[in-house]
């Protein structure tokens, strides 16, 4: 199995260009909506894209981007992880508790990531070995982890006062408009995207999501890949938990409740189909940026926050509609090409 860890050069046939272009349109569409929205807001309110404004936009998106990228890896394999909100909450508290006792900030982050990966392993084992639908399993772990959280934490909370100043500063400082947290998230994003696109094992995530049976028959180690996806998802939720602590400086037993729905929204808006096997993490990052930016745009132009959820919902429906149309078009292209090949052979 060592060969799987090396990038494979896949020769892309010229005929696939059209297909690639159709699929890329999906990400470009989100980017276009995002740019249009930010530009319009900037025209309305010139303070919006100030240095502080850009920094805030990036910081607001960071945590969601990290969790959504992990979630996307799971969704690509035609599974789902609903426990990410609970994992984020418990890892944030674990990191805070460790720091409160005088721990090293770097170790606190490692601890959060390891704890998250541990919960990911649990989810992955239940889903891959138990062969139980991921929706049910992770709904169960959502409640179990939240329950552990409530019992362990009770009414305790971590406040900014007990955290090292350096750790809190890391949560909002950066190189001019570019916050450290966003740099970290971008590095994770690029690494995951490279893995999914260029490694054999990364491509197998997609194969698995397109058709688990076919992938199994083709020799893809199904269980191992699903396990890996869940561990990565848990670890990223853990990392996000540590960063949440740095950013907000406050964690209690309710932290991260309901976050899974925001994460799933970002994944779907970002173009990862819930039926698995398609989409890219760049799209997901754009989706996350789009969703968090809407929440910044509306207050900035003075629209009441009650509209936020309705707008998020409309975006979701639009994203799903676009995906459906794209899927039909892709299917049409493939059918046409197959017909051409057949007629060429006969003629």
């Amino acid at each position: 199995m060592t060969t799987t860890m090396e990038p494979v050069r896949v020769a892309v046939p010229a005929s696939r260009g059209l297909l690639d272009r159709v699929l890329k349109m999906r990400e470009l569409a989100i980017l276009a909506v995002l740019v249009l929205m930010l530009a319009a807001t900037q025209i309305d309110n010139s303070a919006f894209l100030s240095q502080q404004g850009i920094k805030d936009l990036l910081l607001n998106a960071t945590i969601l981007v990290l969790v959504a990228v992990g979630e996307a890896m799971v969704v690509i394999t035609r599974n789902v992880d609903l426990s990410v909100g609970s994992v984020l909450g418990i890892t944030a508290f674990a990191a805070g508790d460790f720091l409160q006792g005088g721990g090293n900030p770097l170790l606190a982050v490692v601890l959060a990531v390891a704890l998250g990966a541990g919960f990911g392993l649990l989810n992955g084992l239940l889903v891959s070995i138990g062969q139980v639908p991921a929706l049910v399993v992770t709904l169960g772990t959502l409640y179990i982890i939240r329950g552990i959280d409530s019992i362990w934490i009770g009414s305790r909370e971590i406040t900014a006062g007990v955290l090292p100043t350096g750790f809190i500063d890391f949560g909002h400082n950066g190189l001019s408009a570019l916050p450290y947290l966003a740099v970290l998230a971008a590095a994770v994003l690029v690494a995951v995207a490279y893995f999914l696109r260029n490694y054999r094992s990364g491509r197998e995530f997609y194969a698995l999501g397109s058709s688990p049976e076919a992938a199994g028959l083709a020799g893809v180690p199904v269980r191992r890949r699903i396990l890996a996806a869940y561990i990565a998802c848990g670890a990223l939720a853990g990392l996000a938990g540590a960063l949440y602590l740095a950013r907000f400086g406050n964690v209690d037993s309710g932290t991260g409740s309901g976050y899974e729905l925001t994460v799933v929204s970002a994944v779907v808006v970002g173009g990862v189909a819930f039926t698995g096997g398609s989409g890219s993490v760049y799209g997901v990052a754009l989706g996350a940026l789009l969703l968090t930016s809407i929440n910044s745009v509306l207050p900035s132009i003075g629209v009441s926050s009650v509209w936020v959820q309705a707008i998020d919902g409309i975006l979701l429906l639009v994203a799903i509609a676009v995906d459906r149309i794209l899927a039909l078009r892709v299917a049409g292209i493939l059918r046409k090409r197959a017909a051409e090949t057949r007629s060429a052979r006969h003629g």
Binding site: N45, V132, F248, D252, S257, I301, G302, V306
Partner: protein, 365 residues
């Protein structure tokens, strides 16, 4: 590489896993949810009308149940522990039940129904919604259970007493006064509230607006009320929006503990630190860091432990027949002194405490 287990083995594992998950789920779910329907047929409230005997002895062995808006919420834990301490002193028993979410109104209703079935002596509840609990609470009162609300009230006919943390009027006005002093009574200000439907928030905001009409606030203008839904991220973004939309903003009042700490955390890490004044209602533990680093000059709050304690004394006095909840009756509340019931069954704890760099280290809640 494709490892397969025999169908029987796989089924076995699947069953085992499903069972584990089901166990976990039932362990973490609430208690009875099925009792909600039974509450529908309820009699009108047994309102104050029967006679009170102020000299009646305080009964012992009563059970007073606290039903906060949210369990494991640090604020309510302090408050309920205050109630527990008071009840222990009096020789009563204490219990606390409640939902994990601050917006699970249906969950609160079913807890009220469960407590009614368990025939507790009194319920002290912080209502998530002024109307939704009414049917269930009236049913409890018609079964002889005394109902006291604290922190957040229901409609007045759905309970016997409301223990108010401070009069809404005093809280609303004093926050404006506090910000006025800090801003030298000049500049644009905004309010960062919780949910748009939160009863207590809206009452306080009403008094804030009224206070701002006074002549000394002529140079202070309320430009916007934003709603952060008591969520850290939303409160962050609403604060950012306020600062972007109103570049001349000088002050923010956040009458919610979640809102004020989120706003303080955002301000302390932004270019606005020290330029925009923040005040409102917060807890000393949450706000200590921001008071010490200069982001916040001062904020205020009542002592939540005293609030819970007063709710416990009031519930005991009701259950002992010393009071019925009628206006003008008085009862004793241990160290807190003697309290008189005001109009509509409201009992006010007292004036809020202002916390500044000078005194914050004396408080630990």
């Amino acid at each position: 590489m494709t490892q397969r287990i025999a169908p029987a083995g796989r089924l076995g594992v699947a069953l085992a896993v499903t069972a584990t998950v089901a166990l976990g789920l039932s362990a973490c779910g609430g208690t009875t949810k099925s009792s909600t329907d039974k509450a529908a047929s309820s009699a009108p409230a047994a309102a104050a009308g029967s006679s009170a005997n102020p000299n009646a002895p305080t009964k012992t062995g009563l059970t007073v149940a606290f039903l906060p808006k949210q369990v494991n919420n640090p604020y309510f834990t302090i408050s309920d522990n205050g109630g527990k301490a008071a009840l222990t002193t009096l020789g009563e028993s204490y219990k606390e039940v409640g939902t994990n979410s601050g917006t699970d109104t249906a969950g609160q209703v079913s807890y009220v129904n469960t407590l009614t079935q368990q025939k507790v002596s009194a319920i002290a509840v912080s209502a998530q919604d002024p109307g939704a609990l009414c049917t269930a609470l009236k049913q409890a009162m018609s079964n002889g259970i005394k109902v006291v609300t604290y922190d957040s009230d229901t409609n007045p006919d759905c309970r016997q007493l409301f223990i108010s943390q401070a009069s809404s009027e005093a809280l609303g006005r004093s926050e404006v006064d506090l910000l006025g002093k800090q801003l030298n009574y000049t500049g644009d200000i905004a309010i960062l509230s919780a949910a748009q439907t939160a009863t207590n928030q809206n009452t306080w905001i009403g008094f804030m607006k009224d206070e701002l009409k006074k002549p000394q606030f002529a140079k202070m203008k309320l430009v916007k009320i934003a709603y952060g839904n008591d969520d850290a991220q939303t409160s962050f973004q609403q604060t950012q929006g306020l600062l972007q939309q109103y570049p001349n903003l000088k002050g923010i009042i956040s009458p919610t503990t979640v809102g004020i700490k989120a706003a303080a955390q955002y301000l302390s890490g932004s270019q606005y630190k020290g330029k925009v004044t923040l005040t409102g209602l917060g807890t000393p533990n949450d706000m200590r860091a921001y008071v010490k680093n200069g982001t916040v000059q001062g904020f205020e709050l009542w002592d939540p432990a005293k609030l819970g304690s007063l709710a416990a004394y009031a519930a005991t006095a009701l259950a002992s027949g010393q009071i019925t909840g009628a206006t003008g009756q008085t009862f004793k509340a241990g160290d807190l002194g003697s309290f008189t019931i005001g109009a509509q069954g409201v009992v006010v704890l007292g004036a809020p405490t202002v916390f500044t760099a000078a005194n914050i280290d004396q408080f630990h809640f």
